[in-house]
Subunit: 229 residues, 2 copies
Amino acid sequence: MKRAVVLLSGGLDSATCLAIALSQGFACYALSFAYGQRHSHELEAARRVADALGVVDHQVATIDLRAFGGSALTADIDVPKGDSADGIGDGIPVTYVPARNTIFLSFALGWAEVLAAYDLFIGVNALDYSGYPDCRPEFLAAFQRVADLGTKAGAEGQRFTIHAPLIDLSKAEIIRRGVALGVDYGMTHSCYDPDPRGRACGRCDSCLLRKRGFDQARLPDPTVYGATR
Amino acid sequence: MKRAVVLLSGGLDSATCLAIALSQGFACYALSFAYGQRHSHELEAARRVADALGVVDHQVATIDLRAFGGSALTADIDVPKGDSADGIGDGIPVTYVPARNTIFLSFALGWAEVLAAYDLFIGVNALDYSGYPDCRPEFLAAFQRVADLGTKAGAEGQRFTIHAPLIDLSKAEIIRRGVALGVDYGMTHSCYDPDPRGRACGRCDSCLLRKRGFDQARLPDPTVYGATR
């Protein structure tokens, strides 16, 4: 069985991405990051998803992006709230984490090389998150070149493939795909600003996109919204 | 003053690279990594060099590459020893750390973006370390493209420059250049396998290349060799 390293945040997209990698027959090694997130609910979701879907190994790499500052997800900047997903994705949001996907893919690449895995999966999406530069196909193509040129395996002739199976899908299409593959989205966590018990706020960009996705997919949203504090 | 992020390991090359960046008028932000090295002498050297040369800030990012295994510098594999630098650089050494420079540059990029710095300096060298794929100019060019495409700054039209001022220099040329800029190489640490007090072994690849560099530069080597254990 070919091995793949799959980036797994614990959110809806990466859980679907893992289910797709498994459905393609890869032996999957899931990689999550403790990167100074404001809360641990996302990582707990990643552990649940990795267990439920069945990976060979799940590593949580600790990295400290807080030392650099600069994002609502890791620093003391308010997460923006709204009532509708319309207009999300115009411009780059304050929740953008500098170079995040570059850093995450770099770690995935390091682990992949040790595992002799030449397939990396990342659940980025160019539609709903058009504001994030590191979710674009041209970025992924550039990173693939870095992987081929910057590794021992690449120097020896191996070619890496960065799989982004969600890149052109809408949130509704992602949800339909995941449900068809048996993903229980109740295990996943999307909210940028949950309450201490992990309940989703329902009003941050991530919650709004998730809600709209289930609406548009005409599938029931298992998420319990209504964070209280 | 334009800002630059400079990767600083505490070794001879990165100290020279920092001195060059400073000589070009950059306000320098030095970045080192605690990545599960076998010893802390390298990081102590990085702190000394950052203080002595005068940086605006020096951050040490903690990352854990040990979870992935796979290198003599981070795992339990013997560091190779020899009597001469001849033949070093034929093939990829066991001290190669998977995707290391990709990971280091990714962090530098994240910090650079927060600082609004668009110049990154890395002390890689294609001659003495020809065995490391991530020390080649084509790798750096590929990473520059990742920086331009994968960042908010790049999406807004900024262009990043990855400076590798040592890339074509021999070790002797690097040493001459650093001495001309006033670098005290007694502060730097190169040995892969020092004794507990930090004394260099004199027989690992890194020590052998350093010794030969001073010989060929016809400059005194301030290093105290002769690790005992």
